[in-house]
């Protein structure tokens, strides 16, 4: 057991001290701090420019359309143009105006317009179109003899409220909170499996290709070393997660007041219940162990760095599958595919957490999926340990799955 901690500490410290780790952690922290200043930055950019000016040529009687537009204009400034259409277009091309709006009356006596801008994609023209639409409806209604009050009534949105009868169902606030959290966790799990899983596999292959492995495994049991490494790199991942959590918490303390509730809600942490957060941690750790153990077993059978990628790629595809499935699941967490997937151990950490976060899932379902997941981890750890014992003594080329079989065979010859 002492040697287990020696390997653990050595792996952990030698990883944490590397430039790569320090730099990547620093970048993460910078990005997080940056996110909290995004609203400020957006404001600075948009605050600088004034509303764009649009030249208007109104061909209607008494320029009544222009009057109607300018009283309710928002986000742009209409300005009557003194001159003909050609001159106005020239002015737009000279960038004196954002665009040219030619207003006229249709045969039915309803407003119609042509917008000349430099590009077709133009947010100002969308604003104008929406505004004209309202003016048109109002005019058409008046023509049909409907009074103002009725029109107001027509435009009022329907009153529609959702009430969940299931006691375990999430409230709207909780849902908003867990949506962000589920998204973050699913993404974090996806990233850490790929980054840390790969790290474990390459770490082991490295020791094999440098041939130091033979000395290591003659000093202490190989299986103990494998688990020490998995734990050490997991710990290193958790260190990074802890750093990020502290950074987010600090930033909320500093910036929370200024940014107001909306922004924090958007990240989704403020409203997440402690239960959801606990499940996030549980599934993160279990998911990590599941995939890390597979990677350790695979890393032990190859002896060249080039072969690691090849052998680990099916695992990466599996994680990607889980990731895309959960993106789908975010929009329909109650679909049968998602329910079934939440019991498949490779998908459980992401999908079951998604279901817990988005819906009320009965306790027995959660317990069952965790039980299956833990059983799968134990089974995989047992197989990986067997593969590892044989794998570390194998030196051949190629990263095929035939190697796994060979490692298992050789493992039968090895001391337990």
């Amino acid at each position: 057991m002492r040697k287990f901690w020696i390997v653990f500490l050595h792996t952990y410290l030698s990883r944490v001290k590397t430039k790569g780790y320090i730099i990547s952690s620093a970048i993460f922290l910078l990005i997080i701090c940056g996110i909290f200043y995004v609203p400020d930055i957006i404001e600075r950019f948009s605050g600088d420019s004034e509303d764009p000016v649009v030249a208007v040529i109104d061909e209607t009687e008494n320029q009544q359309l222009y009057e109607a537009l300018s009283t309710s204009a928002d986000g742009y400034q209409p300005m009557l143009f003194d001159g003909n259409e050609e001159e106005a277009k020239q002015a737009v091309e000279n960038e004196e105006y954002e665009g040219l709006l030619v207003l006229s009356q249709s045969e039915q006596n309803l407003p119609q317009a042509v917008f000349y801008g430099m590009q077709l994609m133009n947010s100002t023209s969308d604003d104008i179109e929406a505004q004209l639409q309202q003016i048109k409806v109002a005019q058409a209604a008046t023509q049909a003899g409907v009074d103002e009050a009725t029109i107001q009534e027509i435009y009022t949105p329907v009153s529609f409220e959702r009430e969940a009868l299931d006691k375990e169902a999430k409230t709207e606030e909780e849902l908003a909170g867990s949506y962000g959290l589920v998204y973050i966790l699913v993404f974090a799990l996806y990233m850490s499996v790929i980054v840390y899983g790969m790290m474990i596999a390459t770490d082991i292959t490295n020791e094999k290709s440098s041939r130091v492995m033979e000395i290591l495994i003659s000093s202490s049991s190989p299986v103990g070393q494998m688990f020490a490494k998995i734990l050490a790199i997991g710990m290193m991942g958790l260190t990074q997660v802890a750093l990020i959590t502290v950074a987010v918490y600090t930033m909320i303390q500093i910036r929370g007041e200024e940014l107001g509730g909306g922004f924090i809600d958007f990240i989704g942490i403020a409203n997440a219940s402690p239960v959801t957060l606990t499940f996030a941690l549980i599934f993160f750790i279990l998911g990590y162990f599941l995939y890390a153990t597979i990677c350790a077993g695979l890393g032990s059978v190859v002896s060249r760095m080039e072969d690691v990628q090849q052998l680990v790629s099916p695992v990466i595809f599996l994680v990607m599958g889980a990731f895309f499935l959960s993106i789908y699941g975010l929009s329909s967490p109650d679909s049968p595919i998602i329910v079934v997937a939440s019991y498949i151990p490779f998908f459980t950490p992401m999908i079951m957490f998604l279901r817990i976060g988005m819906l009320g899932v009965p306790a027995w379902e959660i317990a069952l999926s965790i039980a299956i997941l833990v059983a799968a981890i134990l089974l995989i750890a047992w197989v990986a340990a067997k593969v590892y014992r044989g794998g570390v003594l194998m030196y051949g080329k190629g990263g095929s799955f035939k190697q796994l079989k060979e490692a298992l065979k050789l493992s039968g010859n090895i001391k337990k």
Partner: protein
């Protein structure tokens, strides 16, 4: 004392080591020889707990060998391996820790060894920056740093220049004098002759020669004769009892079936004329090795 009793190792239908019984006395250097693929590395791996023996038992100091005793064992594998990115010091301290040595002790010991091998300036250099010969010295230190009672050296001198070979050889002899049991494997027979009192030659997984080097030589009936003469000696090829004839600068070297045949050769020679040199020699270990481990080795 290390004892192997009827140790057998099979990989599927292939038998790598067959009924091997050996005892390696304390404070001795035991030569463990054999052609490539004779089962040497497999035997080492069984002693080191890396492989489970199919049959038989291995005892160290009277106890069955397990990972509990790994602190008392040092290993220099034939395939050298160190962490290329770690410094000499970090590397040696870590490996010594894995053998149960406290950090302070290992730092002291490694300074002593670096000094002894004249490489103190590399203490904080990465291993990959070192020359091959110096890496080899570090590898040797990693095997002996924790004062093992049992030391397995697999080809310890390969790739070293004569000065460094001498330096490491002295270190090995001192370790032996300090009471370490050493298993020494090499293809260089002159090193084995120089260092080992007991030895064993493996062939196809079982020993073909085993015991005290002096007795092995004595019981090997074939002898060598060195002859220097100024006339053609090729007629000796036909002489009864001559097994091998090899021309040399001065005359020839003969291998004869037994010492009695030396007389026949002598009589035939004196009939021909003056002999400047006639010397009957004990066989070299090289002769014995080629004879016993032969065939597959040539």
């Amino acid at each position: 004392m290390l004892e192997l009793k009827d140790v057998t190792k099979r990989f599927g239908s292939h038998t790598a080591v067959d009924q091997l019984t050996l005892s390696i006395p304390e404070g001795e250097i035991f030569g463990f020889l054999g052609a490539n693929g004779a089962g040497k590395t497999t035997t080492f791996r069984m002693i080191l707990n890396l492989l489970e023996n199919t049959e038989g038992e291995i005892f160290w100091q009277g106890k069955k060998i397990t990972y509990d005793q790994s602190n008392e064992i040092g290993y220099l594998p034939e395939e050298r391996g160190l962490y290329p990115k770690l410094t000499v010091k970090d590397q040696l301290v870590y490996l010594a820790k894995l053998r149960g040595m406290a950090k302070a002790d290992s730092v002291k010991a490694l300074k002593r060894w670096l000094e002894r091998f004249n490489i103190t300036e590399y203490e904080n250099k990465k291993v990959e920056e070192l020359s091959k010969g110096n890496q080899q010295k570090i590898q040797f230190i990693s095997a002996v740093l924790h004062n093992p009672r049992l030391l397995i050296l697999d080809e310890p001198f390969s790739g070293l220049d004569p000065v460094n070979v001498e330096m490491l050889k002295q270190a090995v002899i001192e370790l032996k004098q300090a009471g370490t049991s050493i298993i020494f494997s090499s293809h260089r027979m002159e090193h084995v002759e120089e260092l080992c009192r007991f030895l064993c030659i493996m062939k196809h997984g079982s020993p073909v020669v085993e015991g005290d080097l002096v007795e092995i030589k004595r019981s090997f009936r074939k002898k060598n004769i060195i002859i220097a003469a100024d006339y053609d000696l090729t007629f000796l090829k036909e002489t009864a009892g001559v097994v091998k004839y090899q021309e040399t600068q001065q005359g020839c070297k003969l291998q004869i079936a037994s010492s009695e045949d030396a007389e026949t050769v002598w009589r035939q020679l004196t009939e021909k004329g003056f002999v400047r040199k006639f010397e009957v020699e004990e066989p070299t270990l090289n002769d014995i090795f080629i004879e016993k481990a032969g065939e597959s080795y040539a």
